[in-house]
Symmetry: C2
Subunit: 367 residues, 2 copies
DNA sequence: TTGAAAGCGCTAACAC
DNA sequence: GTGTTAGCGCTTTCAA
């Protein structure tokens, strides 16, 4: 026989107390405050509990009474399983899980698929607070979270949710440093691969207007940093082709790079706003026999393990720390009343995929 | 000001009903059974709710009443973050998350570190059922799970928990096929790298006695399958060196392989019970300049993406399906009363890391 | 040390 | 279409 499903409890604290001829308080204390009763009474309670098959205080009832669920809810806007496939999200999750573990809290992953307007999972979540990871502005699930009277911290996006803690990284500064680095190497004809800028599916070139209106501030910041880095050598950003991809995968990175290079064979560098896209670009370069970095420079963002292993030149962001910080912000808030915003540093990682453009390309580009 | 933490609710269903001059039922219905009241009354309720800052029915109270938490608890015996680093565990998690998502259930990751005897997180979890992933026999956290009157499914290990569903894979059959394959290729002098066999930390050779007593049936089965495969060509298993490693990482795989080959330079093949260990063995072979498979055959188990990419000869197990199946077993149990046991097939994947032993080695081994 | 009383906030019969 | 009643199982003052 399977263990019963959806049973009412075989015994309750009350029935146990009745059986023992003591009050409910006493039984409760046997579990929650061992020092409040004699050792022998306590063991008697516990033994009778075992005999009657009483599984201990019901966690839901206890939560209702204590107003604590001992769990934090995590909201992701993608399919749940995305979190386990995207390496940057994974690092975040790892850090967050660690923080929860340290605090003895569970971590509740809430299903909340992007196009499903049903926010009931947010309403149903029995948690003490929420962490919201990288969702677009005006996301209905986020709004549902904000309606609940629980502490919340946002990671990455959106920025500036009033009254809510945030942890992010210096996206702009990282890209600025990378831009300068590439400019210094001599690149002037660059193309960009970026992640989705809107909720509506779109794959193609994103003009400056679209960039400015992006619903994902992180992408906006990264593009902005890059623009500023190159502005210092007088590059006209409006002429830089920025190829956007809705799905975030190596395959899409490769296809985006293919289209970009087909349309702009003169490019000497492909700058990607994520490592995953960059790995795709690398794959494409290999397929086409374009030596990297001799013929083509490729860069990423994130510093995920796969990319570092591949020697990618990229900007490292401390994803695990970001996750841990999100957890700590939520869990150790004390009586703090002002919202906090933490911005973690990023760091340029010089790998083997960026180098000066070839002489011929330099001439071509008029240097 | 931060959004309030640990507040009592600003308004409750009862206070809202009072304000509106209707009964609590009506307000409840406005949220849960829209068809039970007139449209205008419903909108009036919802509007007043907004005005009063009523965030909708409290999920904990609702759970207590309905006896449903709409979440499943996941028990892992390692640190939580381990799950995010081990590729096989990750695949399982992905599948499980998908199943939960489809059913509109949350997935609660419960902290339960191996050496921490504190099972209170299990007692505290507000869930409708548990999935237990690959824990050793007689694990205290598992026992705590079994005490709770909730449906439970075990993935992989332990086997034969009475009255509990299980999903696993054909570990033995997979290894049997691999053993035969290697025997056929001509290998007779093999060494083995396996994962931990006991809860107590141990790194070194595991003799047959230790193998038989292993607390991890999955390892036992894999070793047993290999033994049977080679028994068909008359290999004496008791002479096969089996190197055990407590930690499961590429580094440990490399160090284990190093020790194994130092002690047994005559080996023509290193069979690993996981891909992660095998990747370590490959790394070591490369470091030592041993050509694979010409000089050394290396095999794994799992079929994780990294390994497949590396061309590893291995046994693929459908990890995502296993996860999905675990979720479905738990969620779609209907009125079923007999426990179910599902064993998913495994499949030999012939990569580029297994080949016949060199001629000289064959002579040496007396073929 | 122990017990009595008072809810925590909600849902689901069932009656009107 | 709406209200009354009766808990779900527990914790926690407070008093004995």
């Amino acid at each position: 026989m399977t263990r019963s499903s959806r049973i009412r409890r075989p015994a309750t604290l009350a029935s146990l107390a009745a059986e023992l001829g003591v009050s409910r308080t006493t039984v409760s204390n046997a579990y929650n405050r061992p020092d409040q009763l004699s050792v022998q009474l306590r063991t008697r309670v516990l033994e009778t509990a075992r005999r009657l098959g009483y599984p201990g205080p019901d966690p839901v009832a206890r939560s209702l009474r204590t107003r604590q669920a001992r769990a934090v809810g995590l909201l992701l806007t993608e399919e749940l399983s995305f979190a386990f496939r995207d390496p940057a999200a994974l690092g975040f999750l790892e850090g967050l899980a660690q923080a929860c573990e340290n605090a003895g809290q569970g971590l509740l992953l809430m299903p909340a698929s992007r196009d499903d307007p049903d926010v009931s999972t947010v309403h149903q979540a029995s948690v003490d607070g929420f962490v919201v990871y990288s969702v677009p502005e005006r996301d209905p699930h986020l709004e549902a979270v904000l309606e609940r009277p629980l502490p919340t911290v946002v990671a990455d996006q959106p920025m500036n949710v009033p009254g809510v803690d945030r942890v992010g990284v210096d996206d702009r500064g990282g890209m600025l440093a990378l831009g300068r680095h590439l400019a210094e190497l001599g690149h002037r004809r660059i193309g960009v691969l970026c992640m989705r800028l809107s909720n509506a599916r779109f794959d193609g070139y994103a003009d400056v207007h679209r960039q400015r209106r992006a619903a994902f501030p992180v992408q906006r910041e990264r593009l902005g940093g890059l623009r500023d880095g190159f502005a210092e050598v007088g590059l006209d950003w409006s002429r830089v082709p920025v190829m956007e991809r809705f799905e975030h995968s190596v395959e899409e990175g490769a296809s985006a790079a293919a289209q970009l290079l087909d349309d702009h064979p003169e490019l000497t560098a492909v700058v990607c706003t994520s490592d995953v896209l960059a790995l795709g670009a690398l794959r494409l370069a290999e397929q086409r026999g374009l030596p990297v970095p001799e013929r083509l420079t490729v860069t990423g963002f994130d510093g995920v393990p796969e990319a570092v292993r591949a020697g990618l030149t990229t900007v490292r962001q401390p994803v695990r720390e970001k996750g841990r910080m999100a957890g700590e912000l939520l869990l150790n808030r004390g009586e703090r009343t002002e919202p906090r915003s933490v911005v973690l540093p990023t760091q340029l990682v010089e790998g083997r995929t960026a180098g000066p453009p070839r002489e011929t390309d330099r001439w071509f580009s008029g240097l």
